[in-house]
């Protein structure tokens, strides 16, 4: 073998050394990735078979009025529900009117207000409130004023029901 071959060998060796350096960098990247993947696999394995105790979304959604229906239709329905309860509990409603539905943008929820004026004794008011609580929807009572007149108590209150905005829209 002459010096020309040796020269070729030296050049090849130099290239090899550089190649090995390159491979080493690549290899260390792979090793780091493998370490990361091993940790991830272990984490995933630990999750295998686990289940989330899901909230019953459907029954939860029943706490609100039907998101697909128009606010006015819902206010009518809400009014009818309240009227029926008042009739059942002898809570005498003298006037009932719809407020303006407002949108809570943060929660994406419509607030449906109902203004009620009534005359009744405390016993019937208690029955009325008890029945309102038992409605399967979330109803909030606010701005309640009770005044005593000669014969009975007069009531003014707002009842609020809620409707989630239909995301499908």
């Amino acid at each position: 073998m002459d010096s020309k071959n040796i020269l070729i060998l030296l050049v090849a060796f130099t290239i090899l050394v550089n190649f090995i350096n390159y491979v080493d960098v690549d290899e260390s990247k792979y090793i780091k990735k493998i370490e990361l993947l091993t940790k991830r696999v272990a984490k995933e394995k630990a999750l295998l078979g686990k289940e989330v105790k899901l909230l019953d979304i459907n029954s939860s959604n029943n706490l609100f009025f039907d998101s697909k229906k128009d606010n006015n239709i819902l206010l009518g329905k809400f009014q009818k529900m309240v009227k029926d309860i008042a009739k059942k509990s002898n809570f005498k409603i003298t006037n009932m009117s719809w407020g303006t539905p407002t949108l809570n943008k943060k929660l994406n929820i419509f607030i449906l207000p109902l203004k009620i004026d009534a005359m009744s004794n405390p016993h019937n008011f208690a029955k009325f409130t008890k029945d309102v609580i038992n409605i399967d929807k979330i109803i909030k009572l606010d701005m309640l004023t009770i005044r005593k007149s000669r014969k009975a108590l007069s009531y003014r209150m707002y009842l609020f029901a809620y409707k989630r905005v239909d995301n499908a829209k």
């Binding site: 073998m1 060998l9 993947l37 929820i109 405390p122």
Partner: protein, 334 residues
């Protein structure tokens, strides 16, 4: 170590085993082996020989020897010259031993070295005349230990005495040639090992990736459920703390009615609930139990008597209360 290396690579050529010749050349001239033999081979007393050349300025010193045994060959006469020249730069030195070793130094240059078997006054005078010198010294051989002289001779100078059929470059290339096959084998093994290792790592990575994606897919449902659960929880928490915000109004009214009804003489004259504020006007003989019970109920952040006046005709007090409802507090887990 140094000694063994010297023994291995350095040979001291005795005066009696060599023939010395010196001449003057142009100081810029350097002979290669072929031109050296071409110019000076005829001087050699040996039929088969090697020439050790040594350049000192324009002086060319040549030692002819029958055979070279080691790569570095330093003539004994030159080593003796190095010591003797310190004593006199223009003199003849006769070193007494079994034979007489004659070293001739002129103008600080080694001019001759040879062996003489007799050295009388006549021979000495002849030498002085021949070399046109005035001083001649007889020194005992024991005074000059060649090994000590060699030790003092800097190894840096050894290359001047390097004799080989090949040039240093050729020699170096020869060693490199010898290394070609082992190096190739090593490189081949190294490349194979690197390739195998690389393949193994890549395969391992791909297998792990596959396993990870497969398990991840299996867990996707769990992850989605968890995400949905989180969204639902976030919504209800937000709804609870932003919309409902205060205790259930129906429960609050019911509780207050119970508290008032504890005393049959108590009568609610006026009740107003708006947001977190409750205003209450009650006809009562004793305002304090209503106040205490209301505070104990846990619904109020504050509950106080705002005013009280006596209704003389009814012989009862009309007490006005004002309460502020507590807000729901977020628990640490949201």
């Amino acid at each position: 170590m140094r000694k063994s290396l010297k023994e291995k690579y350095i040979s001291i050529i005795p005066i009696e085993d060599s023939f010395f010749y010196s001449t003057i050349i142009d100081s810029s001239v350097k002979f290669n082996k072929e031109t050296l033999y071409l110019n000076f081979a005829h001087i050699s007393p040996y039929p088969i020989f090697e020439i050790i050349p040594f350049y000192e300025g324009s002086n060319l010193l040549l030692w002819f020897i029958p055979k070279l045994n080691k790569p570095i060959n330093i003539p004994q006469s030159y080593l003796l010259f190095l010591e003797l020249v310190k004593k006199d730069k223009n003199a003849i030195f006769i070193i007494d031993g079994d034979t007489f070793k004659v070293i001739v130094i002129k103008d600080g240059i080694l001019k001759a070295s040879f062996i003489s078997y007799s050295m009388g006054e006549l021979e000495k005078q002849t030498l002085l005349d021949e070399y046109q010198l005035e001083n001649i010294y007889s020194v005992p051989l024991s005074k000059y230990n060649i090994d000590n002289i060699l030790d003092n001779y800097s190894p840096i100078n050894y290359y001047k005495w390097y004799i080989s059929n090949q040039s240093l470059k050729d020699k170096a290339l020869e060693y490199l040639n010898l290394a070609v096959i082992p190096t190739s084998i090593i490189i081949f093994i190294f490349i194979s090992f690197e390739t195998l290792k690389d393949n193994y790592i890549e395969n391992r990575y791909n297998l792990l990736k596959e396993e990870y994606l497969s398990i991840k897919k299996e867990n996707d449902k769990y992850r989605d459920d968890l995400k949905n659960q989180k969204h639902i929880k976030e919504f209800y928490n937000s709804f609870y703390y932003n919309i409902l915000i205060y205790p259930n109004s129906f429960e609050v009214i019911s509780k207050i009615s119970q508290i008032v009804a504890d005393d049959e003489n108590n009568t609610i004259k006026y009740f107003k609930l708006s947001g977190d504020t409750i205003n209450l006007s009650i006809e009562t003989h004793n305002a304090i139990p209503i106040l205490n019970q209301s505070l104990k109920s846990g619904y109020f952040e504050e509950f106080k008597i705002k005013s009280s006046r006596e209704l003389r005709r009814k012989k009862i007090n009309e007490v006005r209360y004002e309460g502020r409802l507590k807000k729901f507090k977020k628990s640490s887990d949201g």
